[in-house]
């Protein structure tokens, strides 16, 4: 961030915080997600903050910074372990894009480190138990909510809505995807009955959860949240494609599925399994979209290009899951 932007940011933060002497003592780019940028902000008075803003290109399916800020506030109020949201700036003139500021939380979220560690999050079993409790708190947020009106009308039948939305996404794609259709058709044939929709984080997985040696320090990345079936989050976390190679630990490659369920409370396992197949379809579809950003030239990027090559492996898993479920 150049000097002019930094000066404008300082001025804006002084007004937002009510501290006319506020000074930015340090600022470094933390992580370049595919969609967002996170900057550490070291602010006078020993304040450690994070500034979260958009990257050049943004997926249409993700919420903007203002919506993410509202979700973070709702989650914080519901007792979910999230960084405390502090200030929102919707004026792109300050830094070039809307941003919000939250308190900085320490820990590691790096998926490959997390799945290898026996001690992070307080140990495998304790960690996934805690993740179950976090999900239960998130799912206690229910519609209608004026502050979350941007989430739209809750679906009457979340499973069938998922199938319809995924099909619409496939219809927007350049190339037909018979295997994803195969998975979606199976999901349609085997959809469980409707349940009341709740707030679903919708990207609750290893890599988006920050841990230290004692436990969970933050549930991150709220930009995909929706009203849906709570089992969608459990299925996303347990899906094999999000275990980062540590398949034996079924809850995110971190710990046992039973401990996650125990931490959560009442779980309909069959429903979770339906959402695990759904997770593979959804991730494959997102991966196709990401690769298309590279292929189309919207954003030439090696990581996006390689993401496209994850699709065949996901399709293979979808075929195996459908086969096993049809045989059962």
């Amino acid at each position: 961030m150049d000097e002019a932007r930094r000066a404008r940011l300082t001025g804006w933060l002084r007004a937002a915080s009510g501290d006319p002497a506020l000074a930015i003592e340090g600022m470094t780019l933390l992580s370049g997600g595919a969609i967002q940028q996170n900057w550490t902000l070291d602010v006078s008075g020993g304040r450690s903050w994070v500034l979260r803003t958009d990257n050049a290109a943004t997926l249409a399916v993700s919420h903007g910074r203002a919506e993410e800020f509202a979700l973070l506030r709702a989650a914080f109020a519901a007792g979910v372990t999230v960084p405390e949201p502090l200030f929102l700036c919707e004026d792109a003139a300050v830094t070039g894009a809307p941003f919000f500021v939250m308190r900085r939380v320490t820990g590691t979220a790096a998926a490959h480190r997390v799945v290898r560690s026996e001690t992070l999050g307080g140990g495998r079993e304790a960690c996934v138990r805690a993740l179950g409790r976090e999900l239960a708190r998130i799912h206690a947020i229910t519609p209608p909510r004026a502050d979350l009106a941007f989430l739209g009308t809750p679906p009457a039948d979340p499973c069938r809505t998922f199938v319809a939305e995924q099909r619409a996404a496939l219809d927007r794609q350049r190339i037909p995807r018979p295997v994803l259709e195969w998975g979606l058709r199976h999901l349609e044939r085997t959809a469980p009955p409707p349940v009341p929709a709740v707030l679903v984080h919708n990207d609750f997985r290893t890599g988006n959860i920050m841990l230290d040696e004692r436990g969970v320090t933050a549930v991150l990345d709220w930009e995909f949240s929706v009203w849906s079936d709570p089992h969608a989050d459990l299925g996303w976390l347990c899906a094999k494609c999000w275990r980062f190679g540590n398949d034996a630990q079924e809850a995110g490659g971190i710990g046992p599925r039973a401990a996650l369920y125990a931490g959560y409370g009442a779980v309909d396992d069959a429903r979770v399994r339906w959402w695990e197949l759904a997770a593979h379809v959804r991730w494959a579809s997102i991966a196709v979209d990401q690769a298309e950003r590279h292929i189309s030239g919207v954003e030439r990027n090696l990581e996006l290009a390689l993401t496209g090559h994850l699709v065949p492996g996901l399709e293979w898993e979808i075929l195996r899951m459908v086969e096993a479920r049809d045989a059962a």
Partner: protein, 114 residues
């Protein structure tokens, strides 16, 4: 026969070895991830360059079942290849084989586990 060797797969393989064995250890930590991505891309490209052209045979089988890939995808969506239908086994086998061929390039590890 007329092209000058070494061909693409060999060039990619030897270049990848240099990248991983000589360059990667000398790179600063923050660029190691990018270097690994480059190595991964080269491995995928090398596998693609050595693969037989399996597409015509698969497309012919697809055409016999439903038509082009778009028609096949639509037929699956409509339930024309659901379990219990006459074409189910053949459609499932075709999807398996074309996904196997795709994985051989993009994700050979997935097949190892499958």
């Amino acid at each position: 026969m007329l092209r000058e060797e070494p061909l693409a797969p060999d060039l990619l393989a030897i270049a990848r070895e240099v990248l991983l064995n000589d360059l990667l250890p000398a790179l600063p930590a923050e660029t190691a991830f990018a270097a690994r991505m480059v190595a991964n891309a080269m491995a995928i490209a090398a596998r693609e360059a050595t693969q037989d052209d399996w597409e015509p045979a698969m497309l012919a089988r697809m055409a016999a079942l439903a038509g082009d890939p778009r028609a096949f995808a639509a037929a699956i969506r409509e339930g024309r290849f659901d379990p219990g239908t006459p074409g189910h086994k053949e459609a499932a086998a075709l999807l398996d084989e074309l996904t196997r061929a795709r994985c051989a390039v993009s994700a050979p590890k997935a097949l190892g586990k499958g």
